[in-house]
Symmetry: C2
Subunit: 391 residues, 2 copies
């Protein structure tokens, strides 16, 4: 069940409507999640320069490395002649760049006229060299920041997408159970990661797993004061706490989930923090409904923490959906005090309370979809500090 | 066993020697593999803007998101005061960027003087916005392409690094065995990927696994004409061929490995192609020795294929070592007709014959280290078209 022609046509139409509102005559899309969203294209080819050009009218043009262009029609719903492959001789050269070639092709296809062309200056895979090649090759263009235009189009999910998000949530919940079960005295972090990754790829009955945009994060013991260290052969000791942050992925849709597990009786400081965190998360979930403003929902959280004399400067979450390495966030809504987005049905968010204190920490999260009158939980795990006796 | 102070000092000294030869007064490093190489820093924080500034003299300065800066000293061998965290309020803002803050810090630390500053225009995680923020904030700088300066320093491995490469090779070989064992009639690609990923994270006796920069690639059946489609719930049919391309990773070092497996008796066309490929790979390995020129070694391969009336435009491999998503190649040596690099002991290469024909294909590879008089194989798997009866 790839996205239907109608689904993709609707996505493209909404993208173009937003382009027109922004006064854009064309859009250069490089973010692999945006590329997938607009065409269905899906492959690990984003480490080489590639782009989708979206004109205001007419079929988009996909330009990528020849070896990838040859198979792109297997996932991208585009005519074969709109998928162009640049020659292998342009890969990793000092004096030539694939986007020199892309610029020539865009010119030959009639897209070199004067106009405002949006691009994605904060996308991970638009390199500075790629950008300069477009500037040089298409001097007629006025390249302007699209301000994550397609990412914003992605914010509200279709019924088709919500089904994929539910599948991703089920995979996340199963992967979390696998991770928790692997926690035991003396267990190595890499073995816990192995159990999680096995569950992530396998999936659950009727929902196959896909690769998540980020590997499992396992902040442990003292180093739980920082969230993004990856797994090592470090062994767990009795009395330590470990946070698990992972995502379930299903057909590129992601539902992240975080829990903290104490191996043996938790220390009182951590148990107290975990309880405050869980109460705060519950209050936030109750405040999440259509019409609410993100900043106000964040206020519920900030006030709850303030009552306990805790300050947490990092945001409380972000929008989710399609994800590719290195990030599963959509880079649009951030749950914090300055985000004035009005919540709408169909938005999906990862609400993550990451409490990274000096020398200890805990994480607790849910992935949710906004419904007509509140919140649908996509993930399912006990919302508490989990204690493993782990003999 | 993280890299020793001496090892890191040597890497920095060789980087600075090359900077001086290139007339650079400083270097902005963003590529996570280069950052790891120069400091030991290792975490999944590269999806947010971060940089290492390397002056010609004095200690480098690491600038990253505050929540990551707080734990960076756990892996980075830098003084605590040389690790700076930008405030959370700068994350994903429309009108401010973390590198505005970084530019101010670089100025305050005395690095705003006029000079030629190298940067990495083709690094994956230097976004266009990041680059523009540096241009704007440090107008004294003449920002020039470093031409992957640190990547080239990484090309010849130290004895310490070669040990890690051998460990990575052992993990790769074990993961390949796990993948081959999972191939059976009706097996789903995602379940084969699950078995591989479990083995990749677990590692082998005495060598723990690490996450590879790329997920297992499993080009299958007709779609084996393109290399980078990722796994799905597609089931294997008897008579189909599947290629497995994976890497073993150990403490961020990567040894990739590719094999092709036929489920049941291979078709004659594929068997013939596989035999030609294996002979060619053997001839190339025999030609790989210190003093040889990469282009000449590639000529052995090209001539071998020409004898069989086959043309393969893509390169035959690339240098390997430290890897982070989305790529495990070092972006320096490419084994092809125009690469004039002279082979030296300590170089590590992934020699990959990827034969993507119309509607079928095979892959065969080895990861190698160049020794004083030839080649050390890092990977260990039967070098042939593997046949699984897989009832």
């Amino acid at each position: 069940m790839p996205p239907s022609t109608e689904e993709l046509a609707d996505r493209l139409a909404r993208t173009r409507a937003r382009m027109q509102r922004s006064g854009l005559d064309g859009l250069v899309v490089v973010d692999p999640a945006n590329l997938h969203y607009l065409t269905g294209y899906d492959a690990w080819s984003f480490y080489m320069p590639q782009l989708l050009f979206v004109p205001l009218t007419g079929e988009p043009l996909l330009i990528m490395r020849a070896m990838d262009a040859g198979g792109a029609h297997r996932t991208a719903l585009l005519s074969r002649e709109r998928i162009l492959g640049y020659p292998e001789s342009l890969v990793h050269q000092r004096d030539a760049h694939p986007f020199d070639w892309a610029a020539e092709q865009l010119r030959e296809h009639g897209f070199a006229h004067r106009g405002r062309i949006g691009y994605e200056p904060e996308a991970h895979f638009l390199t500075v060299r790629s950008f300069h090649a477009l500037e040089r090759g298409l001097p007629e263009w006025q390249l302007v920041d699209s301000h994550d235009l397609v990412n914003w189009v992605r914010l509200v999910k279709s019924p088709y997408e919500l089904e994929l998000m539910r599948g991703a949530g089920r995979v996340a919940s199963a992967a979390m159970r696998a991770g928790i079960d692997a926690i035991a005295d003396g267990a190595r972090l890499n073995d816990i990661a192995a159990a999680i990754q096995f569950a992530q790829a396998t999936g659950v009955e009727g929902v196959e797993g896909d690769y998540p945009a980020i590997v499992p994060m396992l902040p442990t013991g003292e180093s739980a004061d920082t969230p993004h260290m990856t797994f090592s052969a470090r062994r767990l000791d009795r009395g330590e706490a470990i946070s698990i942050e992972l995502a379930g992925a299903h057909r590129r849709y992601h539902a992240p989930l975080a829990r903290t597990v104490s191996l043996g009786r938790p220390d009182a400081r951590l148990a107290g923090l975990a309880e405050i965190t869980a109460e705060g998360l519950q209050a936030v979930l109750e405040g999440m409904r259509p019409g609410a403003v993100v900043a106000d929902v964040h206020g519920i959280w900030r006030e709850h923490l303030a009552q306990h004399s805790i300050e947490k400067p990092s945001r409380l979450g972000y929008s989710i959906g399609i994800g590719y390495p290195p990030d599963w966030g959509e880079r649009t809504v951030s749950i914090r005090g300055d985000d004035l987005t009005v919540i709408e049905p169909g938005m999906c968010l990862h609400i993550i309370a990451g409490m990274w204190m000096e020398g200890y920490g805990c994480e607790l999260s849910e992935s949710i979809a906004i419904t007509a009158d509140g919140v649908e939980l996509l993930t399912d795990a006990p919302r508490e500090l989990i204690v493993r006796e782990g003999a």
